[in-house]
Symmetry: C2
Subunit: 210 residues, 2 copies
């Protein structure tokens, strides 16, 4: 699958590398291909990332991952251009810069704002509750971590779910895109537990059932 990744930071860079290792054709959209961040990604063993503009990454294939910091998201989507009909995977969290809380919530969500900024894209929320350092290993003993997937577009939900499964995660269908209003706070709960709690970042959420 051709996947354009908007952003080459922790989340975008790690997902891009993992998907490239799985055989997908990745193009990173970045502000500056010569930045330290882009160079860091290139230094990762055995990985030769390709960089382009945000518009080039958006046009690369039928699937796009939005993985820039929340404050940059609207502008980057504007630069990305026409995303009509594309699967737009939103792994963002609308976190305040000091990580103390969310910038938006309750009456909206990052996913819904992204859907407004890219009105004909097929937005799907996925991966926002997994820390970048936890993406490469979804196993916790005999359990796989869950990821919550919500979208108003069934095929987009299916694409994101398959990409999650390919990394060893268990995708949980959480319904329509509006459910992001409850999945984004979960991410901040996770982040706060990872930062302040006694467990560090080697934690994940699992939906148990019987």
């Amino acid at each position: 699958m051709k996947i354009g990744i908007l952003g080459a930071g922790n989340m975008g860079g790690t997902l891009g590398r993992l998907w490239a290792e799985a055989g997908h054709d990745i193009l990173f959209g970045v502000r500056d291909p010569h930045s330290a961040k882009a160079r860091r990604l290139s230094d990762a063993a055995g990985f030769e990332p390709r960089f382009g503009s945000f518009a080039a990454a958006a046009a690369h294939g039928e699937t796009v991952l939005a993985a820039v910091p929340w404050e940059a998201t609207e502008g980057v989507l504007r630069q990305a251009g026409d995303l009509s009909g594309k699967v737009l995977i939103d792994c963002t969290n609308p976190i305040l810069p000091d990580l103390s809380g969310l910038a938006i919530g309750h009456t909206t969500s990052a996913a819904e704002e992204i859907a407004r900024w890219a009105p004909h894209a097929h937005v799907v929320k996925c991966f926002n509750t997994v820390g970048a350092g936890a993406l490469s290993d979804a196993r916790y003993g005999d359990h796989s971590a869950s990821v919550f997937v919500c979208s108003d577009h069934p095929l987009a939900k299916e694409t994101a779910s398959q990409l999650a499964e390919s990394l060893g995660f268990e995708p949980i269908d959480a319904g329509p895109l509006i459910e992001a209003r409850y999945i984004e706070p979960l991410a901040l709960l996770w982040i706060h537990l990872a930062i302040r709690g006694k467990f560090g970042s080697k934690i994940a959420v699992k939906l148990l059932r019987r």
Copy 2:
């Protein structure tokens, strides 16, 4: 432990019964001790619940459980009277009557509102992410479900955590009371998954770690 339970519905009734079976001294505060709801509780095998006013339940011991519907909470706390210094366990979810979303969030939480309505109580959020039908069995295969516990009062957090552990749940210290802003949306995510998802209500959240 003497525990006063405000409300004898699904959550309050089930927790009260389980705690009574564990040897705690329970008094239910209800609007009408002769109501059908109160009678249903009395019909549960081997359980002889005691009912009183909200004020009587609040005065019963040092621990109080707030378990009335969100819309009734402010009024019931007013009737409960002085809760100064008491451990006030908040298991509520500020859910809209049609379950479509939360009545409040993002800039506040049910826990913070309760703390405002009972300003000298030691409020601790706990049990709000466990369905009433899932309280009596915390085991899912070889895992125990997690409950997220947050409070500004360490002893209240300890009390709630011990009560959770006594029911087989794994209490997760989620920090200060403000974290309820992220734990209450998690409850709605759970509720929506239970109602709309393919799993039904036999689901629970677990914090995995390695």
